[in-house]
Symmetry: C2
Subunit: 422 residues, 2 copies
């Protein structure tokens, strides 16, 4: 691309083309969309070698730039990961299509027949960081739900993303789908993102996927609605008289099964009447799994050799083997703590008391509230949605796992026989 | 208020208090909320004289400031308008409460029982212009749906809004509701609004109500999700072989019954095979109602003595007795015109052809699409929702009439028996 390009022009043209494509795309049948998704799967498989060659350019650049081995690992497309992309397209083709669903319908006293129908949102912008497989996840779900998509990946994965987008575009063209249904921003200049985020006349939704700083920057600059995942400061509260083994199983699972993800446990709360009997054994079990404990004063009075929690720990999303622990007077203090320091993501209670379970579910303000289960279940796959484009910590439109249904909106169809308003 | 106040402090404290109030408010029963709404109705009736006295201060100021008589009219609280506020609270008390509704529930193969439950959104900010009765409409719907609300009205209505908020706050306190569930920003400095719009840690949703420039300014500055109504560029398309009388009734109704509202007709499209026979009579009927016609070249070739439409007319929201008229080749051109120049609000087709009706409903991208009915029916009351806080031209969360259900979100409740993720 030329240096003297007008970024605003470049991205505005893409957005206008996406809007026009979206109006066509909305009319394709489920069978046509599934056929197209399967064709994309085949095309990715057939072009595995060119994908790997492009990916190698990204890896080479990343090494030259001294990126961390963790970053390079996230960037690398192995045969297995490419196979994962192929399977992703095949699997999304098997999911139910929400478009066209009648949410409700009714008749008014004046004879007007009203239906509320699920339709695609229109044009979705996805801004993401280094993993190139996000391209495939986003494209598969957007196409299946009838939405045009404009993608902007991280600069580290530019070559990988561009070739994936090229293979996808070519395939959807061959399938007689609107060619501009999928577009990749192939220029990494940041100014383009700022212009992109102002195009609310053509783009209906922005979904940023990445770290909190990326997301805050998007929210700060966007005039387009944004659905986002800020962070997962997830709690488990062990109630009075909870079963110890259930509590240990859930806490160990939520903290250690995959500590780097958003629905992992970050703060353990425990009723003061359970703390004395349970904390020594529970903390021993956690430590044996390599978990660093940061306890409140009361925790430290019960268990030796642990670090002190500071106020910052109560709102920390560690994403590693660290756990903040706080002894609370009762369920009310637990709920208040969660609603004060949590991130409205996933919170659990371990209890044998139905009244307390109900109170916790009613009063905790989170996308998913668990009773006697691990917070790790807050996930589109685990909920049975078949896929997810992310987990929303917002309250509007989509909350929690965001799958195909959350990629649709609705419109009202009103049929009359000449009715006018008096 | 002191001049040296720290605006950020002032509004942050309000928002934090609203967040805490919202967590309590979410737990009140429908019966308690209805009792509170009825008590507010009584309190407004009982304080009619003080409301009118405060309103007189606003009117006096408005006259001194040389506001237009239309503005002063909008500002004025007559006995009838105060009675309207009283009835508004009484009526919202009779509506169904969406909070607690089970949207769906299912069980997973691992035994987890998941329910998706309707809950209040949390804290809603309403920014509105001069009509003080918006205070009552917003408060009644927010309270009924269990949401705390922070209001910021226009400076012209400050005294009226402050006294209304005071009466409401006092009543909700007496009813043992959280006192900070309803708060009015009583300082008109614009800096406060800018700080307000950044408080996404405490406020879940902003609803601006007013002219397009107010709304664009809110969208530009807000880090909080905004649901908004930009404008209503509504179309009626008269198809080939449409019934003339049905078409005339609908067009006259949509254009003239209340031209100043968002669902009024702004552009008429007509099939070229209907134009010759229908336009002379239809335009005559429109002119007899005082409507100025701005026609395309083909329209002008059929009917004399009308103004020419310019490109600006195709996207104009006149809100007065002006109508743009365009002859189109066929339904496809009509749909394309609407999707290009419309505002995704309300669009209608007049037709006898079921195939064309279906095509129009499928392809027009608007919150409500009408077949053989006036666009004026796109309204919460006319849809049977009992009330509305506005009509959304957004596609996310709420599209079209926004009533109690649209003032809720959901959370997932997940009940297990010790399940952990493997």
């Amino acid at each position: 691309m030329e240096n003297n390009i007008n970024f605003k022009d470049y991205i505005t043209k893409m957005a206008q083309a996406a809007r026009i494509a979206s109006l066509e795309l909305a009319n394709f049948s489920t069978a046509e969309k599934n056929k197209c998704l399967k064709a994309i799967a085949k095309a990715i498989e057939a072009n595995k070698d060119s994908i790997k060659a492009a990916n190698n350019l990204d890896i080479k650049k990343a090494k030259e730039d001294g990126l961390s081995s963790a970053m390079i690992d996230r960037l690398t497309l192995t045969d297995k990961r490419i196979q994962g992309m192929v399977e992703n397209f095949e699997q999304v083709a098997t999911l139910d299509d929400p478009v066209g669903d009648i949410i409700k319908s009714w008749e008014r006293p004046n004879g007007l027949k009203i239906s509320k129908i699920r339709v695609p949102i229109g044009v979705i912008g996805i801004i993401f960081e280094s993993r190139p497989n996000v391209t495939c996840e986003a494209v598969s779900l957007c196409l299946k739900s009838g939405n045009a998509v404009i993608l902007r990946g991280g600069k580290e994965a530019l070559n990988s993303n561009v070739i994936l987008a090229k293979i996808i575009s070519q395939t959807i063209g061959e399938q007689k789908f609107p060619y501009k249904s999928v577009q990749m921003i192939d220029n990494i200049n940041r100014e383009i993102v700022n212009e992109f985020l102002k195009l609310n006349d053509y783009i209906d939704l922005i979904i940023p996927r990445g770290g909190e700083s990326l997301i805050r920057a998007v929210v700060q600059n966007s005039t387009i609605p944004v659905i986002k995942h800020y962070k997962g400061v997830c709690h488990t509260y062990i109630d009075e008289n909870a079963d110890y083994q259930t509590a240990e199983n859930i806490v160990i699972n939520a903290k250690t099964q995959r500590p780097g993800v958003c629905n992992a446990l970050e703060t353990l709360l425990i009723h003061e009447k359970s703390a004395g009997a349970m904390l020594p054994e529970l903390i021993k079990a956690l430590k044996s799994k390599g978990v660093e404990i940061r306890g409140c004063e009361k925790t430290k009075a019960i268990v030796n050799d642990i670090n002190s929690a500071t106020k910052e720990d109560w709102s920390a999303e560690y994403l590693e083997l660290i756990l903040a622990v706080k002894v609370v007077k009762n369920i009310d203090e637990a709920i208040k703590h969660i609603n004060t320091y949590g991130s409205k993501h996933s919170d659990a209670i371990v209890t044998n008391n139905n009244h307390n379970a109900a109170k916790f579910m009613q009063r905790v303000d989170a996308s998913a509230v668990f009773v006697n289960a691990s917070t790790r279940f807050n996930d589109g796959g685990e909920f049975g949605f078949g896929a997810e484009i992310g987990i929303s910590t917002d309250k509007l439109h989509a909350r929690g796992p965001m799958a195909l249904e959350e990629l649709t909106t609705y419109k009202y169809l009103v049929k009359g026989e000449g009715q006018i308003r008096s």
